[in-house]
């Protein structure tokens, strides 16, 4: 067999590196997929909005707004990072309160989903009286 020159050694080294990288990412992908199968919740991140967290954790949004002492805002796109800045506190504190609220909600799920509490002073929907 021919002797390996420096170029072949380099090819071989890069080839082995590529095999290792492929293997590592394959293992990571499989581990993520397996984790995903067993854990339904994804980690709360600063970019997520309250509505996104509510959706992701299947908790009514007003429960989460209540937990962080905010009035529910329709179409609220503010990320948690923004809310934390408005409240002048670290985003981790906000995330912690949301996690607690989710835990509490799951520990004592209401028998039926309660209607969102309308802010004081707001008139009821005109449709409310129409239904018997």
């Amino acid at each position: 067999m021919k002797k390996l020159g420096w170029y072949q050694w380099l090819l071989l080294a890069v080839f082995l590196l590529a095999v290792i990288v492929t293997g590592l990412f394959a293992v990571r992908a499989v581990r993520r997929a397996v984790y995903w199968q067993t854990h339904r919740d994804e980690q709360i991140r600063p970019w997520m909005s309250v509505r996104y967290v509510a959706r992701s954790y299947r908790v009514p949004p007003h429960v989460l707004y209540q937990a962080i002492k905010l009035e529910p805002v329709p179409r609220d796109r503010r990320p948690l990072r923004e809310i934390a800045r408005e409240q002048n506190r670290p985003v981790e504190a906000l995330v912690y309160e949301l996690q607690q609220a989710i835990k509490d909600f799951r520990a004592n799920p209401p028998p039926k989903l309660p209607p969102p509490t309308s802010p004081p002073g707001q008139t009821a929907s005109p449709l409310a009286g129409a239904t018997p």
């Binding site: 067999m1 890069v14 990412f25 991140r45």
Partner: protein, 216 residues
């Protein structure tokens, strides 16, 4: 806080302009989490926070524009540089070979790097420009590939609108796995060819040796 957290936060606050700019800059070659932003935008359209068609149109426009900036950089900034480098190291022949190879296979390379092996896209844009690859043809594969990428990721974002982060990380691992696999196969093939050719040489030497012996 990570870069992707920061970018996704600004996407939540400012919407479409951030998406457009991030995809454009990412396509030129600054590593930004474009795929994750598309997934998040898809999720936002599902929740009614962003308009689906506007997201699709602006995302495609941003990434196509960015790709073409990369191509232009390679064409007008890179060609002169590559000629100078190749003259300096005396391997203009190699550059010509690369050009020929690219002209033959680049179509698939451009198309696949738009939506599947996305980390390679900026390099391919610049090499296409550098080797003087036909711009209309580049644009054609680019538009097709980017359209597929944008539609695919936005729809995945809509489908998994409650677990964008996880889907993004999983897809990221998958894409890097494909990139690694591609390199491994290409390099493995090259090595195999080298070993085969060297063993054929040896066989030839051996048969030549026996023929010489028989002749004696």
């Amino acid at each position: 806080m990570s870069l992707s957290d920061y970018l996704l936060s600004t996407l939540g606050v400012y919407g479409l302009p951030v998406l457009f700019a991030a995809l454009l800059i990412g396509a030129v070659g600054i590593p930004l989490p474009g795929s994750l932003m598309l997934l998040a935008a898809g999720s936002f359209t599902e929740q009614g926070d962003m308009n689906l068609y506007a997201v699709l149109a602006l995302s495609a426009a941003g990434s196509i524009l960015g790709d073409n900036i990369g191509y232009a950089l390679g064409r007008w900034g890179g060609h002169r540089l590559s000629v100078r480098i190749s003259r300096f190291i005396g391997s203009e022949r190699h550059l010509k070979a690369a050009e020929e190879w690219l002209i033959k296979r680049e179509g698939a390379g451009i198309f696949l790097s738009r939506w599947l092996i996305t980390p390679l896209a900026p390099f391919i844009n610049i090499t296409c420009g550098m080797t003087g690859y036909s711009w209309p043809r580049f644009l054609l594969y680019d538009v097709l590939g980017e359209a597929l990428w944008v539609v695919l990721y936005v729809l995945l974002g809509r489908l998994f609108s409650d677990r964008v982060q996880e889907v993004g990380e999983l897809l990221g691992d998958f894409v890097w796995m494909i990139v690694g696999l591609l390199f491994a196969v290409a390099l493995g093939w090259k090595l195999l060819k080298y070993f085969r050719s060297s063993s054929i040489d040896e066989e030839r030497d051996e048969t030549r040796g026996t023929l010489v012996d028989e002749a004696r």
